[in-house]
């Protein structure tokens, strides 16, 4: 494969080669968190994509729990002007939701990560698939 072909392959990586090449870059120490290894979820049958938070693992730094709690209330108040639309479309009552409600809603789905940053948290989980399964088991009920 010529260098030009390789360059094209970097920009138009076939789907079936995406994870093997991610692993190649990982093992070479070339996966660094910049503009690389990006995938997109597109509209399907004229419906815009959306992901239920309960289908994911939520990453929040343990050291920022109190700061996030304070910020939550500030942001929630600012959301009140959109309250009717949010309630009508997504069934959430913005006026009466607290941080504690959020913690209950996503119980077992939040990884309060103790690492220094989210990159280290993701790397830790990547190398501990059993830990990932614990969160996924919660998601599947």
């Amino acid at each position: 494969m010529s260098s030009k072909e390789k360059e094209k392959y970097e920009w138009q990586t076939p789907k079936e080669d995406f994870l093997p090449l991610t692993n190649l870059a990982r093992k070479a120490g070339n996966l660094y968190g910049g503009d690389q290894a990006e995938v997109n979820m597109w509209p399907e049958n004229n419906t815009l994509p959306q992901i239920n938070i309960t289908e994911t693992i939520i990453l929040i730094p343990l050291s920022k729990k109190e700061a996030l709690k304070r910020l939550f209330e500030t942001k929630r108040k600012k959301m009140e002007v959109y309250g009717d639309k949010i309630k009508e479309t997504y069934g959430v009552d913005v006026d009466n939701i607290s941080f504690e409600d959020i913690e209950k809603r996503y119980a077992g789905k939040i990884y309060w990560y103790p690492q220094r940053n989210i990159s280290l948290a993701v790397k830790y989980l990547t190398t501990h698939p059993k830990k990932i399964k614990e969160f996924c088991a919660e998601a599947n009920g």
């Binding site: 392959y9 970097e10 920009w11 990586t13 789907k15 994870l19 991610t22 190649l24 870059a25 990982r26 093992k27 070479a28 996966l31 660094y32 968190g33 910049g34 503009d35 690389q36 290894a37 990006e38 995938v39 997109n40 979820m41 597109w42 509209p43 994509p49 959306q50 938070i53 289908e55 994911t56 693992i57 990453l59 730094p61 050291s63 920022k64 996030l68 910020l71 939550f72 942001k75 929630r76 959301m79 959109y82 639309k85 479309t89 997504y90 939701i97 103790p114 690492q115 940053n117 989210i118 990159s119 280290l120 993701v122 790397k123 830790y124 989980l125 990547t126 190398t127 698939p129 990932i132």
Partner: protein, 175 residues
Amino acid sequence: MESFKQQPKSPEAKESDETNEAKIEKDFVGMSSDKIELLASHLMRPDGFIKALIVGKILTSEEISKKIGHGFARTHRGYYMTFPTPDEKNQTYHASNDYVSFSIGVPQTMYTRSSYVRAELGGTSPGLGFILPASGLLNQNRVTPGWGMFKIEESLKEIKKRKLMKNNLISIAIL
């Protein structure tokens, strides 16, 4: 008589695996592909993150604009360009996305860098986001690669170099 100084313990011996940065980095590069689970991550700034937690969904900015309002959230591209307030015109101009992006392997760190993020969470910017197993995500028909940028040539060279080095060390050990 001079007493022997106690040798410092290696960083790996001091901390639990969960916070031992040297071990995390070493494992991430060193573990074989069948022993790990590659993850897809979607990071957000504190504002969008809290809104997503409340609404219960990761949404496209196009859906947010249509169903909730233009002022509710900004696209990642329009985040700075529409400062201080996004409106219909500039939000559309600066790419109202109809797709959701994920970074595979490690998160994109741009969402942890801005001074605004640091200010909102007080001093540092460790990062907020959502993750899920990458294999399951890529199995969906509606998910397609954006770009790789894996540095394929460099990566192959690096791995070849390491193998050669390892073989040389083995040869030396046998001698």
